[in-house]
Symmetry: C2
DNA sequence: CTTCAGGTACGATGCAAGTCATACCTGAAG
DNA sequence: CTTCAGGTATGACTTGCATCGTACCTGAAG
């Protein structure tokens, strides 16, 4: 039950266009924002994001994120794990994850 | 011949989703990359980017960039000026313009 | 074995977006 | 005035993409 890692692009092969296209979608961006906010980078379940879309569409979105090189998908057969590729992203596109945190304009004066 | 500035969103109203959607397109991203690379931030003509697309489509792309708040368009009547909103972008989304420079991996991590 | 929940594969659909053709506007130069 | 280049408006076309329905797979628990 080790779970094999589904393939994504290498660090040097990360494409800025694919990344922007991936982050252009509302749902995928919310997933990435959540992942970026969790500094522990622990593996998460697919349904821990409770997206308001069907599971087939979720499969699609996670695939896009993986193919853009933003997350790793670990296949356990009947379930799946999601993990942010923080180190790779920071190496190739430093500052991108920080950018995701500035989603809300009120960011200057939070609670 | 003063040229009036076409309207775009205010700094605080800049939307990350609109920005990512704008930068998802190849042609718009190439324009932004060129603008970000020129630290003098001088006003440029629309056709100084020689995009391989028709002028109607160029009009469309520049409009998207303006409505995303990334550039200013100065209308002179029979021609148009383009200027990067560097200060606003850096204030709202610090690091974004730097990110555009990392399009080619050749810089930091060659093969 | 059967059942069941999580996930995928394939196809269809509806909508957004990139592209261009035609026609028109604007200002500068003859 | 006319001409001309740069730009826009409108509409049509086409592609891409987000979404879901149906069917199927996978592993765990009865």
């Amino acid at each position: 039950m080790a779970g094999r890692n589904l393939v994504g692009p290498e660090v040097d092969a990360l494409d800025l266009g694919a990344v922007f296209r991936a982050l252009a979608d509302e749902h995928r961006r919310s997933v990435m924002t959540e992942l970026a906010a969790d500094r522990s980078d622990s593996e998460r379940g697919c349904n821990s994001f409770d997206l308001p879309i069907s599971k087939q569409t979720q499969t699609h979105h996670f695939r896009v994120l993986r193919e853009a090189g933003l997350i790793d998908e670990i296949d356990y057969g009947n379930r799946k794990g999601i993990r942010l590729r923080r180190a790779d992203i920071e190496k190739r596109f430093p500052g991108l994850l920080t950018l995701l945190g500035s989603e809300s304009p009120g960011g200057t004066a939070p609670r």
